[in-house]
C-alpha cells in the first residue's frame, strides 16, 4: 500500500512540474466554474420567464368573459414546460424540445420554441455546460496528465529503479492511476462545489440528494475509466509521443465523432416522417372519423340513432341533453384516440432510434455517460415525453369538461347565442407537471449502465493482464 502511495505522490510531483499541465488544469477548473455560473444564470431567467407567462395565461383563463363552452375549447390553454432543477448542470435534450405548448380542441399541437431554434450555428459545435466540461474536456485533461505516466519513467530510465526498489507492476499501475486521478479530482472539484453551493442556497425546487449522487457516481465512473485507460495505454506504448497520439485519437473517436455518427446512424436506420408527412397522416386518419363540426357526418348519424333509441325520442331537439355537446364530446374522444395512436407510432420510431444510441454506448462510453447524466439530472427524453403526455391528459380532461358543460348547461335551441357565467372558468384544474422518477429512468437504461461498468472493467482487466509484461517492455526503451 505504501508503495502505491509513494508512486502516486511521485506522479503528482511530476504533474506539478509540468507547466502546460498546470495551466490546462487551471483552465479547465475555471471553465467549469464559468459554465456553472452561466448555465445557472440562463436557467434561472428561463424558469422565471416561463413561470411569468404561465401566470399570465392562468390569469387570462380565469378572467375570461362569459363565453360559450365551445368557444373556450378553441381558446384553449397554454402550458410551459418546467425544466428540472438540475437542468443548469446538464440541459440534456431540453434545448431541442419545445418549451410552450398550446392545448386546444380537435388537435394535438407540437411544443414550439426550443432554445436551439434561437441559436446560430455556433451551437452545433457544442455547448459550454458543466456536463460538457466534465464529459468532454476532463477526459482530455486526464489524457494530458497521464499519457507519460509510465512511458515517461521508461524514457528517463527510472522504471527499472522503481521496480528494483520492490514495487510490483500492479502497485506501479495503481499508484499511477491514483496520481492521475488526483488531477481529475482537482479539476472537477470546483464544478462539484459550486453546483452543490447553488443547490444548497437555492430555495424552492430542490433536486433530490439521490439525483446529485447519481450524477456524481456517473461522472466518477466515467472519469475513472478514462484514468485507467490512460495509464493502460501509457504502459503499453513504446514512447510518450505514441501514447499521446493514441489517447487523443481515442478521445476524438469516442467523444467527438461517435455521438454524431451514432445519431446519424440511428436516423438512417429508423427514418422519421417529416412534420408535413406526419400531419398529413393524422389528417388522413381523422377523415375516417368524420368531423364533429358537421352534424350530417356518417359517424355522427350512427351516434344520433343510438342516442334517439336510448332516450326514446324522435329527434335530437327532444333529447334531454344538448346534442351538439354530445357530438363534440364523442368527436373529441375519437380524434384524440387517433392522434394519440399516430403519436405513439412516432414515439416508437424515437424509441427504436434511442435503442441504437444505447447500444452504441457500449462502443462509446461518452454516449453512455451522457445518457445516464441526463437521466440523473431529469432532463432526458422521458421528461419531455412526460410533459407531452401529461399536457395531453390535461388537454383532454379540460376539453371534455367543456363539452360536458356544453351538453348540460347549454340548450340545443339557439345554441351558439348562449354563454356561460364567468365563475365556471375558475373551477378548472391547474396544470401540474410531474417529472418521471429517477429510479424509473435509470431502470430504463440497463445498456448504458452496463456500458459504463464495462468502461471501467475492460481497462482494469487490461492493466491486470499487462502486469507481468511491464518490466520486459521497460527493458527495450528507446533512449538507451
Amino acid at each position: 500500500m505504501s508503495n502505491i502511495l509513494l508512486i502516486a505522490r511521485r506522479q503528482v510531483g511530476a504533474m506539478r512540474e509540468d507547466r502546460y499541465l498546470v495551466f490546462l488544469l487551471g483552465l479547465v477548473a475555471a471553465l467549469g466554474i464559468v459554465s456553472v455560473l452561466a448555465a445557472r444564470h440562463h436557467a434561472a431567467s428561463e424558469t422565471e420567464q416561463r413561470a411569468r407567462y404561465q401566470a399570465v395565461v392562468d390569469r387570462q383563463w380565469a378572467q375570461q368573459p362569459e363565453r360559450h363552452p365551445h368557444r373556450v375549447i378553441h381558446y384553449g390553454f397554454l402550458v410551459f414546460r418546467e425544466e428540472a432543477p438540475l437542468a443548469f448542470f446538464d440541459p440534456g435534450v431540453g434545448a431541442f424540445a419545445g418549451t410552450s405548448l398550446f392545448l386546444e380542441g380537435h388537435r394535438q399541437n407540437s411544443a414550439s420554441f426550443g432554445d436551439a431554434r434561437h441559436a446560430t450555428a455556433m451551437l452545433s459545435f457544442g455547448r459550454l455546460t458543466p456536463a460538457a466540461v466534465l464529459g468532454l474536456l476532463l477526459p482530455l485533461l486526464i489524457v494530458a496528465a497521464g499519457f507519460a505516466s509510465v512511458t515517461g519513467e521508461r524514457e528517463k530510465g527510472t522504471l527499472p529503479l522503481i521496480l528494483a526498489q520492490g514495487a510490483t507492476p500492479a502497485q506501479i499501475m495503481a499508484g499511477k492511476a491514483l496520481g492521475v486521478g488526483a488531477a481529475a479530482v482537482v479539476a472537477a472539484l470546483p464544478i462539484a462545489l459550486v453546483t452543490a453551493a447553488f443547490v444548497a442556497a437555492g430555495g424552492g425546487d430542490q433536486p433530490s440528494i439521490a439525483r446529485m449522487l447519481a450524477l456524481a457516481a456517473t461522472y466518477a465512473a466515467y472519469l475513472s475509466g478514462w484514468v485507467l485507460l490512460t495509464v493502460l495505454v501509457s504502459s503499453r506504448s513504446a514512447s510518450s509521443r505514441a501514447a499521446l497520439a493514441r489517447l487523443v485519437a481515442i478521445w476524438v473517436v469516442l467523444c467527438v465523432a461517435a455521438p454524431r455518427l451514432g445519431g446519424s446512424l440511428a436516423n438512417a436506420l429508423h427514418p422519421m416522417p417529416s412534420r408535413a408527412q406526419f400531419t398529413a397522416q393524422v389528417e388522413e386518419a381523422q377523415r375516417q372519423v368524420g368531423d364533429s363540426h358537421n352534424p350530417d357526418d356518417p359517424f355522427f348519424s350512427a351516434l344520433r340513432d343510438e342516442y334517439l333509441a336510448r332516450y326514446q325520442v324522435a329527434s335530437v331537439e327532444e333529447l334531454p341533453v344538448n346534442w351538439a355537446g354530445v357530438v363534440s364530446r364523442e368527436g373529441e374522444a375519437a380524434t384524440s384516440r387517433i392522434i394519440e395512436q399516430q403519436h405513439q407510432q412516432l414515439l416508437a420510431v424515437h424509441r427504436r432510434q434511442d435503442r441504437v444510441m444505447a447500444w452504441l454506448g457500449l462502443l462509446s462510453p461518452h454516449l453512455a455517460a451522457r445518457d445516464l447524466s441526463m437521466a440523473a439530472a431529469g432532463t432526458g427524453p422521458e421528461a419531455v415525453e412526460a410533459f407531452r403526455s401529461q399536457a395531453e391528459a390535461h388537454r383532454y380532461a379540460i376539453i371534455q369538461r367543456l363539452n360536458d358543460l356544453h351538453t348540460h348547461e347549454i340548450n340545443y335551441e339557439n345554441d351558439r347565442a348562449q354563454r356561460l357565467a364567468r365563475q365556471h372558468w375558475t373551477e378548472f384544474p391547474v396544470f401540474r407537471q410531474d417529472p418521471p422518477s429517477l429510479r424509473g429512468v435509470l431502470a430504463d437504461r440497463p445498456v448504458s449502465l452496463a456500458a459504463l461498468g464495462l468502461w471501467i472493467a475492460l481497462p482494469l482487466a487490461g492493466l491486470g493482464l499487462g502486469r507481468k509484461r511491464l518490466p520486459r517492455v521497460g527493458a527495450d526503451r528507446p533512449s538507451r
Partner: protein, 500 residues
C-alpha cells in the same frame, strides 16, 4: 511556393524530397488508418446529406399530395351551397422551401427547422414556428455533415501529420543527416509540401465524392441562385483556406524548439479552444446578450387578440382590419350574425396583436445572427462554418428569410380569397387552379458577402501563424539545431522523485 528559385537539378531534388517524405508519412499505420477513416466518414456524411435533400423533396411532395387529397375530400364532403370560407378553415396550403445542393455539405439548421410548413388562412403567427419532428436525443448528440468532417476532424489529421515535423527528426536524431541533403528551410518546405499534397488529395477526394453524390454544379448559373456555381466555388475556396490555416498554425507551433509531446499538447489545446470552447463561449454570450422573451410573448398575444374579438362587436374588429386593408373598407359585415369575412378578420386581429412581439422576436434573432457573424471572425473554424451555412442557405438568416416568404405567401392568399369571403361565395365559385402557389425565399445575402469576411479572416490568421514560423526559421535556426539532441525532449518534466 519557392520552387521557382531552384534550378532544374534542384527541382528534381525537390520532387525527390517530397516523394520520399510522402512515402514515409504514408508508411505510418496510424496516418493511413486515419485517412481511410476520414474518407469513409466523409463519403458517409455526403451520402447522408444527399438523403436529407431527398427526404426534403419527399416531404415537399407529400405536402403537395396532402393538399390535393384534402381539397378533393373537402369539396366532395360539403354540399355545393356551402360558403368557401368554411372549406378554407380546414384547407392547409403547402409552402415548401427546397434545400440547396450545398446543404449536403453544410446542413446547418435543416434538422431542427421545418422547410415544409402547411399554411391555413387563419392567424399566421400561430402557424409559423412549427418544429420539425425531431428526436431530441439525436438532435442533442449533434449532427454529422460533410462540413463537420472537413472543419472539425480534418484539422486533427493535419495536426497529426505536422506536429513533429521538426521535433520528430530532432528526437530521432535524423535532423543532422537530413540536413546533408538540403538547407533546413528547404527541408521544412519540402516536408510541408508533402503533407499539403497528402491532405489536399484527401480533401479533393472528399469533395469529388460529395459532389458526385449530390450533383452539385461546379460552375455556371446566376450568382443569386441557391445552387449557383459561385456558391460552390466560394465553399470550395473556404474549405481550402481553412485547411491551409491549420497548416499555418501547425507550422507556427512546430517550428518552435519544444518537444513533440509539447507541440502535440499545444496544438490539441488550440484545436479544442477553436472548435469547441470559443464557439461555445460565444454562443453562451450571444444568448445572454440577446435574450428572446418575445417567443412566448407573441404566442400569448396572438391567442388573446384573436379570441377577444369573439366578445367584441364585429364592426370593431373590422375597423382594425381596414387599417391594414383599406381597399376593403367599403365592405361591411352584419353585426348580429356570423360571417366568414368577420371570422378571418378576427384571425387577422390575432396577428395584429402579436405583430410588435413578432417583429421584436425577429429583430432579436437577426441581432444574434449578426453578432455571431461578426465575432466568429476571431475564430476561423466558426467563421468558416457560419459562412458555409450561409452559402448553403441553411443558417438562421435563411430561416428568417423563409418565414418572410411564408408571410408574403399568406398575404397573397388573403388577397386572393378576400373577394370570395366578402362576397360569401359558395365553394364552386372558387377556381382552385388559380390559387397562388408558394414562392420560395431567395437566399439571404449576396454570395461574396457570405464568403468574403470568413475568407479574409482565414487568410489573416494564416499569415499571422506563418509569420511566427517564418521569424523562427529565419532568426533562430541555430536554436533549432541546438535543441536537436534528443535528450532534452521534455523540458517541462524533470525527475521529481530524484530530489527526495
Amino acid at each position: 511556393m519557392r520552387a521557382g528559385k531552384v534550378g532544374p537539378s534542384g527541382a528534381r531534388a525537390w520532387t525527390r524530397l517530397i516523394r520520399l517524405d510522402l512515402s514515409r508519412v504514408m508508411r505510418s499505420g496510424g496516418v493511413t488508418m486515419a485517412a481511410v477513416l476520414l474518407l469513409g466518414l466523409g463519403v458517409y456524411a455526403g451520402w447522408q446529406g444527399n438523403r436529407r435533400i431527398q427526404a426534403a423533396e419527399d416531404a415537399a411532395a407529400a405536402a403537395e399530395t396532402a393538399y390535393r387529397d384534402q381539397l378533393a375530400h373537402l369539396i366532395s364532403r360539403y354540399p355545393p351551397t356551402t360558403e368557401a370560407g368554411e372549406l378554407l378553415y380546414y384547407l392547409a396550403l403547402p409552402a415548401s422551401q427546397p434545400l440547396s445542393r450545398l446543404s449536403a455539405l453544410a446542413s446547418g439548421r435543416t434538422e431542427i427547422e421545418t422547410a415544409n410548413l402547411r399554411i391555413r388562412l387563419l392567424a399566421l403567427e400561430g402557424q409559423l414556428y412549427e418544429q420539425e419532428t425531431l428526436n431530441p436525443r439525436l438532435a442533442a448528440a449533434g449532427h454529422l455533415d460533410l462540413s463537420f468532417v472537413l472543419i472539425v476532424l480534418l484539422p486533427l489529421f493535419v495536426l497529426a501529420v505536422t506536429y513533429d515535423i521538426v521535433s520528430g527528426e530532432r528526437e530521432r536524431g535524423t535532423w543532422d543527416m537530413a540536413r546533408l541533403f538540403a538547407r533546413p528551410r528547404r527541408l521544412l518546405a519540402a516536408k510541408i509540401g508533402a503533407r499539403v499534397i497528402l491532405v489536399g488529395g484527401l480533401v479533393t477526394a472528399l469533395a469529388l465524392a460529395g459532389a458526385s453524390l449530390v450533383g452539385a454544379p461546379l460552375a455556371g448559373t446566376s450568382p443569386t441562385d441557391v445552387d449557383g456555381g459561385g456558391r460552390t466555388g466560394w465553399a470550395a475556396a473556404l474549405i481550402a483556406l481553412h485547411t491551409l490555416f491549420w497548416f499555418a498554425l501547425c507550422l507556427g507551433v512546430a517550428t518552435g524548439r519544444r518537444s513533440s509531446t509539447a507541440n502535440a499538447m499545444i496544438l490539441v489545446g488550440a484545436w479544442v479552444v477553436l472548435t469547441f470552447l470559443a464557439p461555445a463561449a460565444l454562443s453562451l454570450a450571444n444568448a445572454v446578450l440577446h435574450p428572446v422573451p418575445e417567443a412566448l410573448e407573441l404566442t400569448v398575444r396572438q391567442r388573446q387578440g384573436y379570441h377577444e374579438a369573439w366578445d367584441l362587436p364585429p364592426s370593431e374588429t373590422m375597423e382594425d382590419f381596414y387599417k391594414d386593408y383599406p381597399e376593403w373598407s367599403d365592405q361591411t359585415v352584419p353585426e348580429d350574425e356570423f360571417t366568414w369575412a368577420w371570422y378571418y378578420a378576427m384571425n387577422h386581429r390575432g396577428d395584429q396583436a402579436a405583430r410588435d412581439a413578432s417583429l421584436a422576436y425577429r429583430d432579436v434573432l437577426t441581432q444574434r445572427d449578426r453578432w455571431a457573424r461578426r465575432w466568429s471572425l476571431l475564430v476561423p473554424p466558426l467563421a468558416t462554418r457560419l459562412a458555409l451555412d450561409r452559402l448553403a442557405a441553411t443558417d438562421l438568416a435563411s430561416q428568417l428569410a423563409y418565414q418572410d416568404a411564408v408571410r408574403r405567401y399568406h398575404e397573397r392568399l388573403k388577397a386572393h380569397f378576400l373577394p370570395i369571403l366578402f362576397a360569401a361565395a359558395p365553394i364552386p365559385q372558387v377556381d382552385w387552379e388559380r390559387v397562388p402557389a408558394f414562392e420560395p425565399a431567395a437566399p439571404a445575402g449576396h454570395v461574396s458577402q457570405a464568403g468574403f469576411p470568413a475568407a479574409a479572416s482565414l487568410v489573416l490568421a494564416s499569415i499571422c501563424a506563418l509569420l511566427v514560423a517564418g521569424i523562427r526559421a529565419t532568426w533562430a535556426p541555430g536554436r533549432v539545431e541546438a535543441a536537436q539532441s534528443g535528450l532534452t525532449n521534455r523540458p517541462g518534466r524533470r525527475i521529481p522523485g530524484g530530489r527526495r
